[in-house]
């Protein structure tokens, strides 16, 4: 699969997920699962685990509030009808599933290229250079923050301010980690912006490094592009027929 194909699949699926109802989301889940099993394989389990971990707190909160406390869905409240906990549950499930699909699809699309370096994948994307630069700078910022987290975590664990394991101390002092990460990241970025990049004109080097490489679309691109479009069409049909 080419980066362009993966990007098209992800974008169309994300658009469909945003517009889908519960049945549409079920269909998208099926398409996305097939995509992950075929194109990503083993590493997809990591994406699955991460997506569930991120989605679970929201799902728990939504269930507690909408099913447990309110007992009606927002649509029923707006329509001023009695409503039921079942429709509240459907609402909570829709929102949670939507978040799950969005997180999973983005990861799965990126994981298609886990054996390639980011530059190789970005070069193969059909995007204008300024957008590619923006992608590189965004990834750079993400990497800086990740390292800042790692280093600040080490500092705070070694000094005993937080612990490695889950603890009440971590709940109380978690904000110190955020402050520490922020300060570390700012210092790192300032160091680059002040010394390294102006001396070297490093950002200018991105132009040749991101020079496009042509990768013609393959069978997988066509198949998954078509699958995503089918999913989108189904979602639109569901919405139209539901409205009618």
């Amino acid at each position: 699969m080419t980066p362009n194909g993966a990007a098209v699949f992800a974008i169309v699926t994300l658009a469909a997920a945003v517009a889908a109802n519960l049945r549409g989301l079920g269909t998208l889940c099926f398409i996305v699962a097939a995509f992950a099993a075929t194109e990503v394989r083993g590493p997809a389990l990591t994406a699955l685990r991460r997506s569930i971990l991120i989605m679970l707190p929201l799902a728990a909160f939504m269930l507690a509030v909408w099913v447990g406390i309110v007992g009606r869905s927002p649509a029923e409240i707006a329509a001023r009808v009695d409503g039921s906990r079942l429709s509240a549950f459907a609402y909570a499930a829709t929102v949670s599933l939507r978040l799950f699909i969005i997180i999973f699809v983005v990861q799965a699309a990126l994981m298609c290229f886990h054996n390639e370096s980011p530059f190789t994948a970005i070069r193969a994307l059909t995007l204008p250079l300024p957008v590619k630069r923006l992608v590189v700078l965004t990834l750079s910022l993400i990497a800086t923050l990740r390292h800042a987290v790692d280093r600040s975590h080490t500092a705070l664990v070694s000094s005993g301010v937080i612990t490695r394991r889950l603890s009440l101390r971590n709940v109380m002092h978690g904000w110190v980690l955020i402050q520490s990460v922020w300060l570390t990241a700012i210092t790192t970025v300032l160091g680059r912006v002040r010394d390294k990049w102006p001396a070297e004109n490093t950002l200018v080097l991105l132009e040749p490094a991101l020079r496009p490489i042509v990768r013609p679309p393959g069978t997988a691109d066509v198949i998954w592009g078509a699958a995503a479009l089918t999913g989108l069409a189904f979602v639109i049909f569901e919405r139209v027929s539901g409205a009618a």
Partner: protein, 390 residues
């Protein structure tokens, strides 16, 4: 014949400013390849794999010998920021060798290299660059033009070593024993396999090994920041499991001081560390006045100064405050001399010797043989996934 300039002088004498001036001179042309004092300033920060870092700088028109890549092909997809400090400097040199830059400026970065790599780096830049401007706290290589920077009449951030020595509280450290230590990173790189060593208190140990061998990893394991696959550690007669119970025995000053702060000011940093000690009732406490005196002796005008606004060399010195405070019986200093001038290095060696005499156990990582020779120590070698004491 190239231009090889060696900017010498004590800390805070304007060496970095002189280096920047040189870089600005070259900025009008094709720029200067810059290797800063720490990892964040050695690499571009724009890439997340070694392969991309090389690709970014590669210029097919460059015609010079290639400086060897410090990692094998299997590590090309590794994050360059996850390499050790020395490996990152070597990677930066590799990138320079592939680039079209004719000038290179290096701010104390070569101090992180082991003697063999350091020699290789000097030989390479002298061969491959049209001009090299270097700040380094060791002796200049033969044939380089030395540009001495005069010290300011009133030295900034001066360390009061006699006062510091006065402030060392005697401590009876317990022996630290490690056995069956296994550790490997998530990427599969194995660092220790059934490693064992026993360290006695009142001694200094130089943790030695080639760049990337696992010296910093050992320190992280000892303070509980990393979890070993399995290990038995004892402190005196007690089991010591910092990864489970927290660190109660070792103070760490990291290679890059900015990676050890627990606050934005020294006051905040110390206060948080002291508060965290309440989890270990047997650990000694320090009073605020003592900390104030320590920080003042290390050159801090005020505990409330924002740490990140201080020069790097001053931050490095202040990063010793906690290890020197005497809270923990074992002190670990990772590359304490990087960026420090000769006088500071000599005094630091004496101070560490004094700490040992007062009962502390000291571990340090350094690639500075001259510094290490100034304090009596044993060598703890990290190599072949084992620990060896000589």
């Amino acid at each position: 014949m190239g231009r090889f300039e060696f900017i010498s002088g004590p800390n805070f004498s304007g060496r970095s400013a002189a280096l920047r001036e040189t870089m600005q001179r070259n900025a009008a042309g094709d720029g200067t390849f810059y290797i800063g004092p720490y990892a964040e300033a050695a690499l571009s920060g724009l890439t997340s794999t070694v392969r991309d870092e090389v690709l970014l700088y590669r210029n097919v028109a460059a015609e010079r010998p290639v400086f060897p890549l410090p990692v094998g092909d299997e590590a090309l997809l590794r994050d360059p920021q996850s390499l050790s400090g020395g490996e990152q400097v070597l990677l930066a040199l590799h990138c320079f060798s592939q680039s079209a830059y004719r000038h290179i400026a290096i701010d104390t970065a070569l101090e992180q290299l082991d003697p063999g790599n350091r020699r290789g780096a000097f030989d390479y830049v002298a061969l491959a660059a049209e001009s090299v401007t270097l700040i380094d706290n060791r002796d200049p290589p033969d044939g380089w033009t030395v540009l001495p920077q005069e010290p300011f009449t009133k030295p900034a951030f001066a360390i009061d070593w006699p006062k510091l020595a006065e402030l060392i509280e005697p401590h009876a450290a317990s022996g630290l024993s490690i056995s069956g230590l296994n550790f490997k990173y998530r990427n599969g790189k194995s660092i220790f396999e059934n490693a064992r060593v026993t360290l006695e208190p009142g001694r200094a140990y130089r943790v030695s090994g080639v760049n990337g061998a696992g010296k910093t990893t050992l320190f992280k394991l000892l303070v509980g920041a990393l979890v070993p696959g399995c290990a038995t550690m004892t402190l005196g007669n007690e089991t010591y499991r910092p990864w489970r119970d927290g660190n109660r025995a070792l103070s760490l000053a990291t290679q890059n001081p900015d990676q050890q702060w627990c606050g934005a000011t020294l006051a905040e940093d110390i206060a948080r560390r002291c508060k965290a000690l309440t989890a270990h009732p047997h650990v000694e406490r320090i009073d605020a006045q003592r900390v104030q005196a320590l920080a003042a002796a290390l050159g801090a005008a005020s505990l409330d100064t924002h740490l990140y606004e201080l020069p790097l060399a001053a931050r490095k010195r202040l990063s010793w405050t906690w290890p020197f405070a005497g809270v923990h019986p074992w002190v670990m200093l990772d590359e304490p001399t990087v960026g420090q001038d000769r006088a500071t290095r000599e005094n630091l060696a004496q101070y560490m010797t004094l700490m040992c005499a007062r009962g502390y156990g000291v571990m340090f990582v350094t690639h500075d043989d001259e510094f290490a020779a100034q304090l009596p120590h044993r060598v703890l070698t990290v190599a072949d996934r084992a620990l060896r004491l000589t």
